[in-house]
């Protein structure tokens, strides 16, 4: 039942896609259905966030509240009981009812607490912002730790060079996924260790070649695959110009507005 429903839905989308394509197809000079498109595979490489996001005001308030409720509902811990006992003993000591030596030799709960706090304060946490954040080094994956970063690589399209998601043409006999994996290796080197999310493309973009070079095929259809970075970085000997960008900053590097729009569609 479910499968059938999705099939129908798929068909509708397909119809929509066909009707959307029609204005392109009926452009002057095109040979209707017979026009040939080059198939390209592209890869969206994302570096997942390493640290959690900073809490906003409401989240902070709510967290405080939850902690407070938890405290109110809790029973006293051993160390709190011990602390109370210590206080009582100190009082007795003041009045001179117990022996001084016996009481003074013991370690009180407060002493322990102070020692623990001191140890905690000595521990240095790694900072949430890195040196690459300060210098805004877009070549490094060690920045914007609380956000996703996407990889852009400068590539030649026609005669010009553009920042794009790594992309390249499919070779004969390859599936799109295999093409995508090969292209990433070619453009970014072997050190980039990626985890591909499945065999299906997650996004799509097509563009037409300029009329002068439109001899065999009309344009290119790019199928994007999603992958996350496990380890490594782009090999600088292979691609000199690349950038790890946040979602909001992608627009500043990408030149074509329509491309940005297509890419934004499948960004989380």
């Amino acid at each position: 039942m479910l499968r059938k429903a999705s099939f129908i839905l798929g068909n509708q989308v397909r119809l929509n896609a066909v009707s959307l394509c029609r204005p392109f197809a009926s452009a002057p000079g095109a040979a209707g259905k017979q026009e040939k498109w080059d198939l390209y595979a592209g890869v969206l490489v994302e570096r997942l966030p390493i640290v959690s996001k900073e809490l906003n005001a409401l989240e902070k308030d709510f967290q405080e509240y939850l902690w407070r409720v938890e405290f109110e509902k809790s029973l006293k811990s051993d160390s709190e009981i011990q602390h109370e006992r210590d206080l009582k003993q100190a009082e007795l000591l003041k009045k001179g009812q117990i022996d001084l030596d016996e009481a003074a030799s013991k370690q009180t709960a407060q002493d322990l607490k102070d020692a623990y706090t001191e140890e905690l304060n000595k521990f240095e946490k790694a900072p949430r912002t890195t040196a690459d954040d300060k210098t805004n080094n877009v070549l490094s994956t060690n920045r914007c730790l609380d956000d996703k970063l996407y990889l852009l690589v400068e590539q030649a399209v026609g005669s010009k060079k553009h920042f794009l998601l790594p992309q390249g043409p499919r070779l004969e006999g390859e599936t799109m996924r295999q093409a995508a994996e090969r292209i990433v290796r070619e453009k970014c080197g072997e050190q980039l260790d990626l985890l591909f999310y499945g065999n299906a493309p997650c996004g799509f973009y097509k563009y037409k070649y300029p009329a002068a070079v439109r001899d065999q095929s009309v344009g290119a259809k790019v199928f994007f695959f999603r992958a996350s970075l496990k380890n490594g970085n782009v090999d600088k000997n292979i691609s000199k110009n690349f950038a790890w960008m946040q979602k909001d900053a992608l627009g500043s590097k990408l030149s074509n507005e329509r491309y940005v729009e297509s890419v934004q569609k499948f960004l989380v």
Binding site: L9, G10, V13, R14, A17, V18, W37, L39, L48, P49, I50, V51, S52, K53, L58, D61, F62, Y65, E72, S74, L75, K76, I81, K125, A126, P127, R128, T130, L145, D146, T175, M176, R177, L195, F196, Y197, G198, N199, A200, P201, C202, G203, F204, K206, K221, F223, F224, S228, K265, F266, V268
Partner: protein, 193 residues
């Protein structure tokens, strides 16, 4: 035959049967099996008793299995320590009751929070919708180009599982950090099912 004749001469009564030896000597085929033993007949009451015993044994086994099935693995962390139950009076906190303003603030905060979470969830659904739409579009376009490539693309990726992803943490890991307390080793009891 001559032997028989010799014997017949010895006997006083000359029998005519002995004189016809072929009628007396029979050979049977070689038997390669023992004749069947006669079945021992048992008292029907004993048989019944035996069956009953077997039945009871099985029933007992079943009962024991069922009993064990109901026994669940204990979760030690959820068991309240006995000292806490004994010293509950000493350990309960005596806090001043909440002021009315505080109660009101908490109610408002709860409401605000659920509204905030609802909005967040709706945004997430929208994002998921957008992503699925994008993928559907890509697959449809691929199908228009080539049915084979489309079929390849919709195959499940078996190499993806099992996948291991570490979630975001509060502060980034310190490179080359050596824990002063040593490594953590899980010591909890293993329960076989």
């Amino acid at each position: 035959m001559s032997l028989l004749k010799a014997f017949s001469r010895l006997t006083l009564q000359s029998s005519k049967y002995l004189a016809q030896p072929s009628a007396w000597l029979h050979t049977s085929p070689v038997l390669c099996a023992e004749p069947l033993k006669k079945k021992k007949k048992l008292d029907p009451q004993i048989i019944k008793q035996r069956e009953d015993r077997r039945k009871k044994k099985l029933e007992k086994q079943i009962r024991r299995l069922e009993k064990n099935a109901r026994q669940l693995k204990p979760i030690e962390e959820l068991e309240v320590p006995l000292t806490l139950i004994d010293e509950q009076k000493q350990r309960t906190r005596t806090l001043p009751p909440l002021s009315e303003a505080e109660v009101e603030r908490r109610i408002q905060l709860n409401k605000q929070w659920s509204r905030y979470k609802h909005e967040q969830k709706m945004q997430e659904y929208q994002i998921m919708d957008r992503l699925m739409q994008s993928q559907r579009k890509a697959l449809e376009e691929l199908r228009l180009e080539s049915e084979e490539l489309y079929q390849e693309a919709i195959q499940p990726d078996m190499s993806l599982l099992p996948v291991k992803i570490k979630g975001p943490v509060a502060t980034p890991p310190i490179p080359n950090y050596v824990s002063p307390d040593g490594e953590y080793i899980l010591e909890s009891k293993k329960w076989d099912i």
